[in-house]
Symmetry: C4
Subunit: 367 residues, 4 copies
Amino acid sequence: MDKYISIKDLEDAALEVLPKATRDYYKSGATDEFTLAENKRAFQRIRIRPKCLVGIKGCELKTTVLGETVSMPIAIAPSAMQRMAHPDGETANVKAAQTKGVVYTLSTISTSSIEEVAEAAPNALKWFQLYIYNDREITKKLVQRAEKAGFKALLLTVDTPLFGVRRADVRNKFNLPKHLNLANFEGDMSTKIHESGEGSGLNHYVSGLFDKGLTWDAIKWLKSITKLPIVAKGVLRGDDAVRAVEAGCAAVLVSNHGARQLDGVPATIEALPEVVSALRGRDVEVYMDGGVSTGTDVYKALAIGAKMVFVGRPALWGLAVGGQAGVEKMLDIFRSELEYTLQLAGTPDVAQVTRDMVKHESEYAKL
Amino acid sequence: MDKYISIKDLEDAALEVLPKATRDYYKSGATDEFTLAENKRAFQRIRIRPKCLVGIKGCELKTTVLGETVSMPIAIAPSAMQRMAHPDGETANVKAAQTKGVVYTLSTISTSSIEEVAEAAPNALKWFQLYIYNDREITKKLVQRAEKAGFKALLLTVDTPLFGVRRADVRNKFNLPKHLNLANFEGDMSTKIHESGEGSGLNHYVSGLFDKGLTWDAIKWLKSITKLPIVAKGVLRGDDAVRAVEAGCAAVLVSNHGARQLDGVPATIEALPEVVSALRGRDVEVYMDGGVSTGTDVYKALAIGAKMVFVGRPALWGLAVGGQAGVEKMLDIFRSELEYTLQLAGTPDVAQVTRDMVKHESEYAKL
Amino acid sequence: MDKYISIKDLEDAALEVLPKATRDYYKSGATDEFTLAENKRAFQRIRIRPKCLVGIKGCELKTTVLGETVSMPIAIAPSAMQRMAHPDGETANVKAAQTKGVVYTLSTISTSSIEEVAEAAPNALKWFQLYIYNDREITKKLVQRAEKAGFKALLLTVDTPLFGVRRADVRNKFNLPKHLNLANFEGDMSTKIHESGEGSGLNHYVSGLFDKGLTWDAIKWLKSITKLPIVAKGVLRGDDAVRAVEAGCAAVLVSNHGARQLDGVPATIEALPEVVSALRGRDVEVYMDGGVSTGTDVYKALAIGAKMVFVGRPALWGLAVGGQAGVEKMLDIFRSELEYTLQLAGTPDVAQVTRDMVKHESEYAKL
Amino acid sequence: MDKYISIKDLEDAALEVLPKATRDYYKSGATDEFTLAENKRAFQRIRIRPKCLVGIKGCELKTTVLGETVSMPIAIAPSAMQRMAHPDGETANVKAAQTKGVVYTLSTISTSSIEEVAEAAPNALKWFQLYIYNDREITKKLVQRAEKAGFKALLLTVDTPLFGVRRADVRNKFNLPKHLNLANFEGDMSTKIHESGEGSGLNHYVSGLFDKGLTWDAIKWLKSITKLPIVAKGVLRGDDAVRAVEAGCAAVLVSNHGARQLDGVPATIEALPEVVSALRGRDVEVYMDGGVSTGTDVYKALAIGAKMVFVGRPALWGLAVGGQAGVEKMLDIFRSELEYTLQLAGTPDVAQVTRDMVKHESEYAKL
């Protein structure tokens, strides 16, 4: 593992070992992949303004999210069907999260079940990503199982009335490999995904089952069946963030779904200021994901107002390269990069990373 | 046809099958082709701001243009001499439009006559693109034939006192292949185009026949000979849009003629806001064409204020690849892309696509 | 000549036929050649906003400069030692200018003498570019010879206390080929240039002879020895333009010396608005040169406020490719491109090309 | 040496002769090297606005820094372990500085001792770059030795609580070659650097010895043990510049440590205006380093308000190519480029290079 010294190293190695269809599924973005590239480029347009001689005594990455302590403000984002990346899939991923003290988020569409994941890492701080199915009973059962299994929050995906078009998946007629199933379901619901229609089998599956008619009222319904705090995942506008909070969400995750839904939407680090600004003065947390691949990316998101960032693809690259050890390596790299960023920026405690620590490049476009 | 999943796929395939002179004629822009590239790049500078959890019940692409219903706000733009792309030329194109319920616009300079086109697709919503000839009788006859054949609107091209210089055409000494004629004319007028001068034979033809002295008074004259509503095609300035409307036009088509007239003019999606703003409060429709090649492009144009967009080259690529079936494929791709864009943006009815749904990238250049 | 349909074509052909040292001398810019590239790129950042249906009756390129009529607002810029490009050098160039009715500007450092040029094209409108030598008698004689030979204006170069560093010239130890002399001088002054020091022999020559101590008072002195109107060539700032006019200049030529003097200065089309604005309301003319290579470039300069533009390298490319005929071809291309630009922009008379006809791209960076 | 006519020439030659680990160490920047590239690109976004006909009598590059006269406002920046570049290392470098009359700055982490450097160039104007060690006695001794050896100022590095991550060094397990030692120390302290941990041996060394807890109070302590003026090296914010001055610094060096500490910080020429503005009205000097590689770069920094610029890598390239003669060549190139820049800009005395002489490119983004 020692030869990997950056997330890019892990990505390069993973792209070599993964079979084509899986590799394409993981790395693709929607249609022309403009936003996919922007998610990264937009970070480059933000400058960190380090302070000197602040007197560094230590370096504190610990923070709290929704009342729970995490070892650093970096969480593992939900991503579907992780056993495609490594035989241990979600269980390896959650074990790495447990070891490293970060949030692990399990996808509804996983190849390990809620219970398997809970059992694999009983002490991990686990959150559950939720799609709401047309059949509300199915949904209710998922939520209750997650709550019972010790998951501590629900990430309700709010940007997916249907799945975005990822052209490589269409060309590959992508589907979950036959030897894997959707582990949170039984019988039909578990294997239905294999009945591919034209193009992407996953999209076919989704479009039959997810509730497209969902509104913000769904939050009320969810709160009637669970005590878990709810995070609205997929918000890109200030007004939607306010809607989420007024509907009862405890937090908002600024996300464009890894640029996999609609091409042409803003990079998440571009959308973050609007959301933070809209929620100023409210007692809620804001997170972000999308394109985060270095410690300075994390730092910039924190400075703009995120309480935590999620990383999805980096965990998959780690998983593909080395299972649990690969994910741990990924988290170690982020921790190390964030640690020296905090110190070199003169804000050795994440709590010190305030808005004043960054400027947009356009603010430097004058003499 | 199934292997084509994007307009780009159709374009790539078409560029392979077309003979060089035709290919060059279709894809070229004026001189340095800066605006040709900008027509596409400018779309990338606009961001879509999706709304979440809006409660999608269906997806409605239907709209009306000049009082007639179309199945989606995408029309086939006029382009000259379509039998160069496929033996069936304009008749295949209009049949596809009929099948798919969209506007087909016939060029004055076509290789199928007004009547052939009408007969091929009696139920299509057909508009006629008009160049005004020095000989007003010729022009009058064209208009009256179109009206009689059931065409429902006239697109008067207002940006063409002469044809722009497309260097490849000059180098190729481009001309209509000998076995084809300008089908809307008889005798000399039909074959005159083959008497090439130096350079582009088409430009030679045009410069001898079109009325360069045309002013906005032409609208009045047109209205005196036809009841058809008139659309000013080729407007790039707000003040010209007002002139068009005050002269009696029912609609304005923001167009730079596929970037084929004058290089260095704005991309059409750049010029659209100025025109929409100048016409605010007037009971007229605004359309646009130029560089539209994805569903998100269409969406952005609608959000800025276009009632419909026209696609020219995409229809030619479809035609080249598969005749009527190719054009239908092109329209299917656009429909599918626009459908999921509408849903993923949280505005499942085209009527909901308002100005608030987009931002220029420069609005994100701040923290 | 017919195969050349753009200035770029002539440039490409010229770069192939010229010997390396001459080619490098002509095409080089100062040091890193950033401004050399910017001179062209900056034109792309300006958009032409065409007007429709203006009623074109003809196309008028004629204009006046300093009271004399020219066939179009494009002049041949002074460039040194033109017999390196073609055996006929300056005499071929001036003959082309005569045939085509445009201003020819002879360099002080020419390989044909003032009198040879006058004799070659007695009816051309000829201007003389002047460097002021330490020896004012030499300078005075040059001015008086030019005046006597029928030259109609003096372009005093104001940006050259010394010559800029063009690295290729230094590496090539560039010098005037032995068989050529500086034809405006006799004896030592004519051949001294061959006594190369280190690096560029031209720079060596210049640094020994030109008056670096020159101030705006030089205009007064010039006016005391000649009746010719004086044009300040090489102004890039508004305040300097005012100084030039207050010192008695009849016109100002916005120029960065073909980006050959100091790298990092503004592109001339960038500097033009500042100069035009500073001179608003004064009865003087403003010209520009630098990077002009298409008819739309000329149009943009006119719209911002230039009365005429100068082209230097294009004349050299024409000369290299075909002597007088090559320069004529170059002028024909510009005339043709400017003609259709004027018509397609809806301003068929150069006098109609006003500030309103262009916008900077940044003005389109909003919806 | 004559074949080198730009700093880029020296760089290219040096990169060829240096062994890989040394080459990587010298040229690397922090992590993704975005700021490394920006340090150069940001200069291109600034335009010089030359004045014409100012009457050049001579060219004066002389200036004073902290009360001492230097032959030009270009100093040699401190860089570590220069004997890796050339056997004569720091002593060749300081001799070149002495010959050319510029400031030489010795690094704490040098391969020649304070005394060796002083002896090699007794008449050079020498400054000493200081890292403060946990062991304050070690630090005190260094300062007192520098003062005794005739060094005239202390550059206290304020941006290095730890060393930035340069990935090539980690991959190369970079360390000082065994035959070299840290010459300012004895025994353990001198050889400890060879006890490499994982990754970069230098970072390992630094993290064990440097005082991370340093605050601006360190300036007071330094002033209690030395009379030398203190320069705060590594400031990128206006507020930090004020802190430095209020703590007693005589000057501030705007630096991002050659983009080697934290990637994503501003280019130094971007940060300079903020620092100059924050210190306006105070009797202190501002310097800058970072990406300076041409005379026009120097000019731009002076115009924005720097009293002097430092060049680090250029001196190493000179050293690698030709020892003392190579560094002298480097200084000659800068002098020559600055001389003609001053003259061509119409400000032949460095004292005339004021804020008005430059504009940001964004100021030209309008007509």
